[in-house]
């Protein structure tokens, strides 16, 4: 807790640096930054600041270094789920919501340069009007920051456009915790951003270090990103959806793997009936149960696409491959949604657009939810889904109706597995039971080989206690980029 006079002095410095209208001490606003839907316990920040430019960000970092006060970056709107934007010791929340300029949309080199406050709700339609799209996560909320999503290595829907887990992020500009400005990859130079004519799409380097990787999944603890370039793709002129209904989770990997080996499909994911019904129900509370009952236990959703040339021919060839692969595995493909025909266009919209309805889909069935997610080899996804089932059955909430989402990644050579655990905040007993399940299941899954590559909240302790050498290296890097430890202290192993 800052002394009143110190707090006042810092407030004056912030106002001088970025203007009074961009500094908030409104108790309601501050209070809203102290909690989210995660298990992390946050504290109330002392200020929220709203920078408009790189220079203002640099000023804020300078003040924080002088005053030894924490900075917690925040780019997306609520609801938030991971605890990564919750201050652990007060300080200044840096809300990038006013840095929301789409700096460039490049249809020739297929990329977009965006500020951190640019959201999916903003970017997706802008790209659409230029015949492009971006590889998005599953139904991201419309107010979700595109850059944050990329920086945090969130899973995306089209594995064939992922060459490693950093895609679709290309280059970026950052103000490190030290206050120094830096640009990565081909954005680094030669010269200044104004004199450099490169399209800034080469992510690697400069030199023998991949600096952008060091900023990834860092929860803003290494630097504050002021713009980034992301890759975009041609928007298909023709798309055809296919559904593969399945009874058991161990059936999921084989068709997904075969389809991705041949690069047959664009969007490609699997959902259990709970998650699919949650996404599709007209009114989640009223329609969910009958819709879920009508759906098969598991549905693989894939999309075959044709682009600007001979789209029909491409879709016909890829469709034939898809059907052949599934027949060889004894599986049926359908163009109508199994169990709920007529909802195909809704599915197409869900895998193409950000979620703009209220509440956010993860909160449709209950006002709270805890999400367990990790990476695994695709072949082991069924094993982890079964393990989770056993843990739930042995928990204090054995009948919990939880959602499962399986997202193949990186050409299908890995997968993101997600378990969405809903609970009602009004029931203390239920909330406690689900919290307990969340922690216990995380431990069990980790022991069985689930890779928690983005260790938010309580996962950080679980992950880094078994990785002391890696944690030590990360602390060394943190000390280089953020020597005073002002950026989001208390997160990860910092």
């Amino acid at each position: 807790m800052l002394a009143l006079n110190v707090r006042s002095a810092i407030g004056q410095e912030l106002i001088r640096a970025i203007g009074a209208t961009n500094v908030s001490t409104d108790p309601v606003a501050l209070g809203s930054c102290s909690c989210d839907c995660s298990l992390v316990t946050g504290t109330c920040p002392d200020f929220i600041v709203y920078p408009h430019s790189k220079d203002e960000v640099r000023e804020i970092v300078s003040i924080a270094n002088q005053r030894q006060i924490a900075l917690v970056p925040m780019s997306s709107g609520p609801p938030r789920f991971h605890g990564d934007t919750l201050p652990s010791q007060g300080g200044i929340v840096v809300d990038f919501g006013r840095m929301r300029q789409i700096i460039k949309l490049d249809t020739v080199s297929r990329c977009a340069a965006v500020e951190p406050g640019v959201t999916y709700g903003q970017l997706v339609p802008a790209l659409e009007s230029h015949g492009m799209k971006v590889n998005i996560p599953l139904a991201p909320r419309a107010n979700k920051s595109v850059l944050t999503s990329c920086l945090e290595r969130e899973a995306t829907l089209i594995p064939k456009y992922q060459y490693d887990t950093m895609d679709p992020l290309l280059t970026l500009e950052v103000i490190y915790g030290s206050g120094d400005e830096f640009r990565t990859g081909s954005a680094s130079g030669p010269g200044t951003p104004d004199s450099l004519k490169a399209d800034k799409v080469n992510p690697w380097g400069p030199g023998a270090i991949d600096y952008y990787r060091l900023l990834s999944a860092a929860q803003g603890s290494m630097g504050l990103v002021t713009w980034g370039v992301i890759r975009t793709e041609i928007r298909p002129t023709l798309r055809k959806l296919y559904f593969i209904p399945l009874d058991h989770p161990h059936q999921l990997p084989a068709p997904l793997d075969a389809l991705l080996r041949k690069r047959v499909v664009d969007e490609c994911l699997a959902l259990n009936n709970t998650n699919l019904a949650t996404l599709l129900a007209d009114d989640a509370r009223a329609d969910f149960t009958p819709l879920k009952a009508s759906l098969p236990p598991w549905t693989i959703i894939v999309c075959v696409a044709g682009y600007q040339r001979r789209a029909e021919e491409r879709v016909a060839i890829q469709s034939r491959y898809l059907i052949e692969i599934c027949e060889a595995l004894g599986l049926q493909t359908q163009t109508r949604l199994p169990g709920a025909p007529g909802l195909e266009q809704d599915v197409l919209r869900i895998i193409s657009e950000p979620w703009s309805k209220e509440p956010y889909w993860k909160l449709r069935r209950a006002d709270r939810c805890y999400e367990i997610f990790f990476l695994a080899p695709l072949s082991k996804a069924g094993h982890f889904i079964e393990s989770m089932k056993e843990v739930v059955e042995g928990s204090r909430c054995p009948d919990l109706d939880y959602g499962v989402y399986l997202q193949p990644l990186v050409q299908g050579r890995g997968a993101h597995c997600s378990f969405l655990l809903p609970c009602h905040g009004s029931s203390r007993e239920e909330t406690e039971a689900v919290r307990e399940l969340f922690l216990h299941a995380s431990e069990i899954l980790m022991k069985k080989g689930a890779f928690f590559s983005r260790p938010y909240g309580p996962w950080a302790r679980m992950v880094y206690r078994n990785y002391p050498d890696g944690a030590a290296m990360l602390r060394t890097l943190k000390n280089i980029f953020d020597p005073n430890g002002i950026l989001n202290p208390g997160k990860l192993c910092f």
């Binding site: 020739v108 080199s109 297929r110 990329c111 060459y163 490693d164 950093m166 830096f182 640009r183 081909s186 130079g189 030669p190 450099l196 004519k197 490169a198 080469n202 690697w204 380097g205 400069p206 030199g207 023998a208 270090i209 991949d210 600096y211 990787r213 060091l214 900023l215 990834s216 860092a218 890759r231 041609i234 793997d257 041949k262 682009y307 600007q308 040339r309 021919e313 491409r314 060839i317 034939r320 990476l375 695994a376 080899p377 072949s379 990186v410 050409q411 050579r413 890995g414 080989g449 689930a450 590559s453 983005r454 260790p455 992950v463 990785y467 890696g470 290296m473 990360l474 890097l477 280089i480």
Partner: protein, 501 residues
């Protein structure tokens, strides 16, 4: 200078007497000058052939305690493989040549540093699997190429650079400690190299790697793609008179020429947008002539005919590899549509036949050593990447700085000898300019330095990004201020972890 006997004995105890030597006739082979460099390397103090990660850890700890430097190497085809100062030992990793796991289900392979492209690529074909083989020839180390050096390859249009395929890393730090990156950190297997949290993988390689200056990477997993060809390399004849033809209904090669670089650029961009093709590149024409001939006399006859200068000044090489004849027909139709729109025409059929008969050009580049045949010296410059559009803007400026060297007779007269390779379906492209010069000129060692300096000056003048700062500290100190002060961060990281840039 040899090692003190007690140090030698300590190292010998770790590795065994048969795998360490400081005999003069052995060391002589490790200090020969590179053909293209005037630098005469210092002699190593000893050469060691470790057989395991544990041995490497122990050796490095001895080096740290006894004030020795070490250079890990496999193929030793670049200057970083040779000592620049006394008290340096060579860690020759060729004994560590095990393919420790081929995971056909999850599509990765785990390899040691001594595994060569010729060994791995052909082994994986048996299982219907593949990976992008960097254009370094079959003798190149796969691990070095993926994790420590460069990694551009002819097939990266339908795939990517090799650094994108790293799925797991086992790394002996300069301190001798072992660190495992990515999913290995949590004993979750070899399928992901990033995380947990900020990705330490960023330290092992940027655009290029540290070339052995940052500890020793002892094992990596690389991701695998599906191989669309037969289980074995369909080779006829004997080297150098051999041919490799893949099934014509699913593998085809096309060569087109364009009047302008803009037309060629537009064709490359459109092919990328259509997501067709396995390899799409503008290739070197002088290098192509060297690869296409079996002797110096053959080369001069071809070059003096002017055929390659005329036909391949602005060529587009396209290799289509599909799963079916139907898909091939579709891709060929799209390709021909694009070529017609952009004004390309087919090159002399005799040239196309060279590549149809040696499709290994797109797989293993089995005859790459022919580039060295002329006996002078050669060097690359540029060596970075950005968009196709930007790389062609860079390509257009090549005559601005290269012609003066040609006019003075300092380098081979081949102003079009640069390649631009599309990668990831045209999302990026790589550029490289190769130039050759005679070593019998005065101050011949200065020629590459001058060409590279003029190349960089031209880039700076135009605001072009086509060169990445190299890892060597003197060059990095000089260029770093132009590249976002990367030398400062590189120095800090190097000092923190004991890297030798």
């Amino acid at each position: 200078m040899s090692l003190p006997r007690d140090v030698y004995a300590e190292l010998e105890r770790i590795i065994g007497s048969e795998y360490i030597s400081d005999r003069e006739y052995i060391l002589a082979g490790l200090r020969h000058a590179m053909p293209s460099s005037p630098v005469r390397p210092a002699s190593p103090a000893a050469v060691l052939l470790p057989g395991s990660t544990e041995e490497i850890q122990q050796i490095i700890k001895v080096c740290n305690r006894r004030g020795l430097k070490f250079i890990p190497t496999v193929s030793s085809l670049i200057s970083f493989a040779y000592p620049t100062e006394p008290n340096t030992i060579i860690l020759q990793l060729k004994r560590m040549n095990r393919i420790t796991e081929i995971n056909r289900t999850d599509r990765y392979v785990v390899i040691e540093p001594g595994v060569r492209h010729g060994q791995l690529r052909t082994e994986l074909m048996k299982f219907g699997l593949s990976y992008p083989v960097a254009a370094v020839g079959p003798g190149g180390s796969v691990l070095v190429n993926f994790a420590c050096s460069s990694g551009d390859n002819h097939d990266q249009h339908g795939a990517s650079r090799t650094n994108r395929y790293i799925h797991g890393v086992e790394w002996v730090l300069p301190s001798g400690e072992l660190i495992r990156l990515g999913s290995l950190a949590n004993d979750a297997g070899w399928f992901c190299a990033d995380g947990p949290g900020p990705s330490l993988r960023g330290l092992i390689k940027g655009y290029a790697g540290p070339f052995g200056g940052f500890g020793v990477i002892t094992r990596i997993a690389i991701g695998l793609d599906e191989w669309r060809g037969p289980a074995g390399m369909p080779t006829e004849g004997r080297s150098p008179d051999y041919q490799v033809r893949l099934p014509h209904d699913r593998h085809k090669v096309f060569l087109f020429k364009f009047s302008t670089l803009d037309q060629l650029r537009d064709a490359m961009i459109e092919i990328g947008k259509a997501e067709i093709g396995q390899a799409v590149l503008k290739y070197f024409n002088l290098t192509a002539a060297l690869l296409a001939t079996q002797s110096a006399n053959d080369f001069w006859a071809l070059w003096d005919s002017g055929l390659f200068q005329r036909e391949l000044a602005r060529p587009l090489y396209v290799y289509l590899a599909t799963h079916s004849a139907e898909e091939m027909a579709y891709e060929e139709a799209v390709l021909r549509e694009i070529i017609a729109e952009t004004g390309g025409v087919e090159v002399d059929p005799a040239i196309r036949a060279i590549y149809e008969n040696n499709m290994d050009f797109f797989i293993l580049v089995g005859f790459l050593q022919r580039v060295l045949r002329l006996g002078g010296a050669w060097a690359p410059t540029k060596l970075s990447a950005d968009s196709i559009h930007h790389m062609f803007e860079v390509g257009k400026t090549v005559p601005e700085f290269l012609q003066e060297f040609i006019d003075k007779g300092l380098i081979f007269d081949a102003p079009d000898n640069f390649q631009i390779i599309s990668m990831e379906y045209g999302h990026l492209a790589h550029i490289e300019l190769l130039f050759l010069w005679e070593r019998n000129q005065r101050n011949w060692g200065d020629i590459p330095r001058q060409v590279m300096a003029r190349s960089l000056e031209t880039e700076i003048r135009h605001g072009h990004h086509a060169t990445m700062p190299p890892r060597s500290m003197p060059m990095l100190q000089k260029l770093g201020p132009l590249y976002s002060d990367c030398h400062i961060w590189s120095t800090k990281i190097g000092e923190a972890f004991g890297a030798r840039w």
